[in-house]
């Protein structure tokens, strides 16, 4: 299955070496995958918190889906794809953790390894390939409609990467207040009709 949605030849082997028949199930899986690709990518970035790993996982999802398309229930194909994505993400996380542990064992530069990992973790929201054109402008407009304190907390947490405790200290506010501002601000952003339309497109 190609990511562009085109149908490939029907000789893609499944896990047992058999080929999936070019039946409606396969087409359904392909169509659902293509329609859900952006959400799957966003989902994987949210789970893995790493752009590169998320893209790797997305490729694996495509392969896994085509290999096991015979077993899918057409009524739950969307959830099934998300489940495959989650499983692939968790497998990647496990292998990453294993690699990291091995590196840590054999490397004397533990600090360096840890800093590399933290850089990966904070890099995941790089938006290239994920956001539609103009999406950031719409968010910007939605943000500008929020109360100042909500905007500040959201920016400090998401853009500047401060922890909630640091934000509370910086703003001289209780932690609970900061969390409430964040929660209300994001909730109002979600409810914004412009953004809601973008989700459901």
């Amino acid at each position: 299955m190609s990511q562009s949605g085109g149908h490939q030849s029907n000789d893609v082997p499944d896990r047992d070496g058999r080929s999936c028949p070019p039946d409606t199930q396969k087409r359904l899986v392909e169509a659902t995958y293509v329609g859900l690709q952006r959400e799957l990518r966003a989902f994987l970035r949210g789970v893995l918190k790493d752009v590169t790993l998320a893209d790797d996982a997305l490729q694996k999802v495509a392969v896994s889906a085509i290999q096991s398309c015979e077993n899918v229930n057409p009524e739950t194909v969307r959830g099934w794809l998300f489940r495959i994505a989650l499983n692939e993400a968790r497998q990647l996380q496990r292998s990453q953790r294993r690699d990291s542990e091995i590196r840590q064992k054999f490397s004397e530069q533990v600090a360096e390894t840890q800093s590399t990992w933290s850089v990966q973790k904070t890099d995941w929201w790089t938006s290239s390939g994920l956001l539609k054109d103009g999406f950031d402008t719409i968010i910007q407009k939605s943000m500008s409609r929020l109360p100042d304190e909500h905007q500040t907390v959201i920016r400090l947490r998401i853009y500047e990467g401060l922890s909630f405790a640091e934000i509370a200290e910086r703003l001289g506010q209780p932690l609970g207040t900061v969390l409430t501002w964040m929660r209300r601000g994001l909730s109002r952003l979600r409810e914004d009709s412009g953004l809601r339309d973008l989700w459901t497109e």
């Binding site: 959400e39 799957l40 966003a42 989902f43 970035r45 949210g46 789970v47 918190k49 739950t76 969307r78 959830g79 998300f82 489940r83 994505a85 989650l86 968790r90 973790k121 929201w125 790089t126 938006s127 994920l130 956001l131 999406f135 950031d136 402008t137 719409i138 968010i139 910007q140 943000m143 959201i154 920016r155 947490r157 998401i158 853009y159 500047e160 990467g161 401060l162 909630f164 964040m182 929660r183 994001l186 909730s187 952003l189 979600r190 953004l195 973008l198 989700w199």
Partner: protein, 188 residues
């Protein structure tokens, strides 16, 4: 709200606003390892929750992109460290100026403490001024003033106005710290 059990977690996931907040915390990496694990288990059977995670991820990416557009620069976290440095850089001239002001105030206080010497100095200044009026030559003023403050003059009362040792030490220390600060700022 701290999650203690899977049933507690499931109850929270049943509430729409809690569900959104948990998704946000999960995506931002705010959940503990146990909570994240429970959240992922819940996602296995809940496609809508997966969809919510995807939306949250998009929203956070969008906020990040929008904030970058607004600021058009690197995050303030790093700028903050720089501003601390620049604070250090800018404090030494202020310190030096304050020290100089203190020294000036101290010298004025010393001078005013000796009223007689002050009055004699005033009269000497007056004499100088009158002589300059006669000569109308600015150079003469300077030379006359030099004569007044000349240590070789046995009548010079300012010559006995030696700065105390603590004052000199303070000046030296201040000069040293100013030099050190200068060196530090060159490093940055």
């Amino acid at each position: 709200m701290k999650v203690t059990s899977m049933s507690d977690f499931t109850n929270r996931l049943a509430m729409a606003d809690e569900r959104e907040w948990l998704a946000t915390q999960y995506v931002l990496g705010e959940l503990s390892a146990v909570e994240a694990e429970m959240f992922e288990v819940a996602m296995l059977d809940d496609a809508d929750l997966c969809q919510l995670v995807a939306e949250t991820s998009l929203l956070i990416s969008g906020v990040h992109a929008a904030s970058r557009k607004v600021r058009g620069s690197s995050p303030v976290v790093t700028i903050d460290a720089d501003s601390k440095r620049s604070k250090n850089r800018t404090t030494w001239p202020v310190k030096s100026a304050l020290a100089a002001a203190l020294l000036f105030a101290a010298s004025v206080a010393l001078r005013s403490s000796n009223d007689s010497s002050e009055s004699r100095l005033a009269s000497a200044d007056f004499d100088v001024l009158t002589s300059t009026e006669m000569s109308a030559d600015a150079d003469v003023v300077e030379s006359e003033l030099d004569v007044v403050s000349d240590e070789t003059d046995p009548n010079c009362r300012l010559c006995s106005l030696d700065a105390p040792e603590w004052l000199m030490t303070a000046v030296e220390l201040e000069q040293e710290s100013a030099t050190d600060d200068n060196d530090d700022s060159e490093v940055f």
